[in-house]
């Protein structure tokens, strides 16, 4: 899992609003950094990393909520949550597939092999569906809009 980046100039004694601007700028950048190749189902750590970055951004937004105009905050929060949900939908399938494949290698009774293999096939189909559902959320244009929204949030907090 990617570690969170340190926030440059982070100062416990600075006003809450200043800190909000600093932190959100860094956490938002991490989300966009991890968006590359996220639809590649052979590299499942990418979805995981972007999902964790999204979680960290959401946590920061919730933490600093009083520093933002409520309408602006509400829209940005909903958009980030929708992205997180779409990433989560893919990630859940990735995890199940990984688990079941390992179970086939290490623990399955031969009597159950066929049924577990069927489960993997079903999960693969769901994984592709979840990936299709994720496509609009990680499209360049959508991410650019989100970036703009988060930039406004950062400006408003200062």
């Amino acid at each position: 899992m990617a570690r969170p980046r340190k926030v440059p100039g982070f100062d416990c004694d600075e006003p809450f609003g200043e800190a909000a601007a600093r932190v959100i700028a860094v956490r938002a950048a991490e989300v966009f950094k991890h968006s590359a190749g996220v639809l590649d189902t052979t590299e499942i750590h990418r979805v995981h990393d972007m999902r964790v970055a999204t979680r960290r951004l959401r946590a920061a937004m919730e933490l600093f909520e009083p520093c933002f105009p409520s309408k602006l905050y509400g829209k940005a929060r909903r958009e980030v949550k929708a992205l997180a949900d779409a990433l989560g939908g893919r990630r859940d399938r990735d995890v199940e597939i990984e688990f079941l494949e390992q179970f086939i290698e290490e623990g399955v009774d031969l009597d159950d092999l066929e049924r577990v293999a069927q489960l993997v096939v079903q999960r693969r189909v769901e994984q592709l569906q979840a990936n299709d559902d994720l496509v609009p959320f990680v499209a360049e244009e959508r991410l650019a809009k989100l970036r703009l929204r988060l930039d406004k949030l950062v400006e408003a907090a200062r």
Partner: protein, 141 residues
Amino acid sequence: MKARRVKKLDPEKPLKENAARIVRTRLDEVLALAEPALEPTAAGAQHDLRIACKRLRYVLELVGGCFGREAEAARDAARELQTVLGEIHDCDEMLPRAEGIASLDTFLRTRRELLFRRFSDLWRADETAATWDAIERILDN
């Protein structure tokens, strides 16, 4: 599970003062949810505690630097609890799909039991209790 609202936050006041209120609220959530989650079959309570640990962990990742080593220890404890509770949740999600597949069903149930024991041991460990006490003392100062 909705997070408790943190009262009396003020954007004009220093980060540390606001952060202390937030960490305190998130820590209280974890402490309040632990007892019901220690019931072995209480999947819902364990899920709620996982979410509370996740919130505490991410808040401490952000502002733990304002509260010293005690906050680092609390963050690590929250992360460890979140991880093991997450693995328990994965078993709970997978179990219905394992119906009629004996070896998978047995494996998941056994794994869940072991993970629950690990969670219970973690929570009851003296270090964990001391970790919560230590961060509470820092927040109260």
